[in-house]
Symmetry: C2
Subunit: 317 residues, 2 copies
């Protein structure tokens, strides 16, 4: 696909991945509605296969390949949910997945990716080493590179979560998705702008990694500069494809503090009795931190995932 | 009500409480099914109002009172979910709830019960002080005592969770509920034995608080002797009413170690991305610890609640 996905492309992606993924629930929580003074609808991708929305894009990309393209497998560089998702999607298709990971990646992530059956190739923890190693893997195996977010097939797949949300909940005033590389936010934006044109699309970003917010204001991509945030799914900078969609369709990107993210994550665990990862909490933290923008409104909030190391929680124990 | 609830009574309880409580979901988890070699159906009372099944019995009892009985309010002694549930149910009915709590109860529990609007009366942490203080409160206020479990109205209310489970999932080979005072297990037993007579009813209990297991074997109530278990909802001994039902309808009570409870609780959090309290984990831990009894079977598992102090988790951090 060499153009931004249309709503038809996103519907086709939804049909393509439907046999494999979960249709996740949209939950509500009266206690949190009362706290926020708004009606919130939480699209729970924390319950998704592999624990995150990433399986949507990866599965769409893997099943978009022709048999000939797929025969030599797929490859990516990632130490996070995309690598696990690509490995799972490749296993469903019956092909190999090669994953380049920095050798200092946390053991728990190495184990997760290995557990989904990927062939892992370790590299030095630099961007150059990562790209060189990926090129090596591709030339050795002929595998097709599936990028983590800056790819129309991935963006179309990520847009299917909002498709389900819009199908279930009408008349949303806003939809909020967290933004790292921008795959989820740009997919959400393409879906929502087509299906519910009066709904405002908003990105949520850690203030500590606010490159997307600054990029949107500047009108050009401003890369993140070694950000540190508890929302470790949101460290990445935008790509040219995701940025082009975000510029066109996203009304605003709002930032939240680390303290806001942690408090909101704990609130979700305590009140909703569900486990979300810090990146998910960012989307609700935006509502909590900017109550005047959402008072009395119907707001869709995309919980991106639920992969948390339970042995290391960010609040005082 | 001065007889064990019939299935008609339980259906009436369900209708009585339906405007107030959640119809909780029945979830499945392929990863846990694979681990257990069984098909498990989790009735998720952790998502219930007040965070536990206790709201069912309390609401049924409060709304079973005549206007005249209700006028002077309700009273109980409890430091746990029953007190919070009774306070919430009383608030729905617009009457006072008086709760006798030991003065050394954890602050988090005091705050929860106060948060639901109860009038709290503190007492010394002995059974005698608790009973004396409750008698005082009743004579001062005329409030009706609503016991935490040994009461047919409470038992009928707790049985409505299994009613929903049986309505949604047919042909269960077994249903497992945790057992403390026996309100949930006896309500479950009355419902399941009427609605699905070929389904085996099993209790799950911490080995460290195995008084119900020993009582069932002995054919008489053997009180717990200062038990200590992480499953703090299951410390209580059976009452004569709950025991009479359990004796008649429960096939077996199986026990699990503290380590089993903790590992199972963590497994549920990690794989299902939901928060359950240790007492809930007991029911699944029974399946994990006795795989030969459940292999290939369809098993209903009642998750009793999700109230956990997130600042103090039972695994290594």
């Amino acid at each position: 696909m060499n153009h931004p996905p249309t709503i038809t492309d996103i519907c086709e992606a939804a049909a393509r991945i439907e046999p494999y993924i979960h249709r996740t629930p949209v939950l509500t929580c009266r206690a949190i509605d009362t706290l926020c003074g708004a009606s919130l609808f939480f699209k729970c991708e924390n319950f998704q296969k592999v624990g995150a929305f990433k399986i949507r894009g990866a599965t769409n990309a893997v099943f978009s390949l022709s048999d000939q393209e797929a025969a030599s497998g797929v490859a990516t560089h990632s130490s996070g949910n995309h690598a696990a998702a690509l490995a799972q999607a490749a296993r469903w298709r019956g092909i190999r997945a090669h994953v380049v990971m920095p050798k200092n990646a946390p053991e728990v992530k190495k184990a997760a990716v290995a557990g989904y059956g990927a062939n892992i190739r370790y590299c030095e923890p630099t961007l150059q080493a990562r790209e060189d190693t990926l090129a090596e893997v591709q030339s050795e195996t002929g595998a097709v590179f599936i990028p983590p977010f800056n790819d129309w097939r991935i963006i179309a797949g990520q847009g299917t979560a909002a498709l389900e949300l819009c199908h279930e909940i009408a008349d949303l005033d806003s939809v909020i998705a967290p933004v790292g590389g921008g795959g989820l936010l740009s997919g959400t934006a393409l879906t929502v702008s087509a299906r519910s044109p009066n709904t405002q699309i908003i990105g949520g970003e850690p203030a500590n990694a606010d490159d997307a917010c600054r990029s949107l204001k500047a009108g050009k991509i401003i890369p993140a500069n070694n950000p540190t945030t508890i929302a470790d799914g949101l460290l990445t900078s935008l790509g040219d494809l995701t940025f082009s969609v975000i510029r066109q369709h996203v009304a605003d990107i709002l930032t939240v503090s680390e303290e806001d993210i942690i408090q909101t994550m704990r609130l979700i665990w305590e009140r909703m009795k569900i486990i979300v990862e810090p990146s998910s909490a960012v989307a609700l933290a935006v509502v909590m931190a900017h109550p005047e923008k959402f008072a009395g409104r119907r707001v869709g909030v995309i919980f991106s995932g639920g992969n948390v190391n339970l042995a290391s929680l960010p609040w005082k124990l």
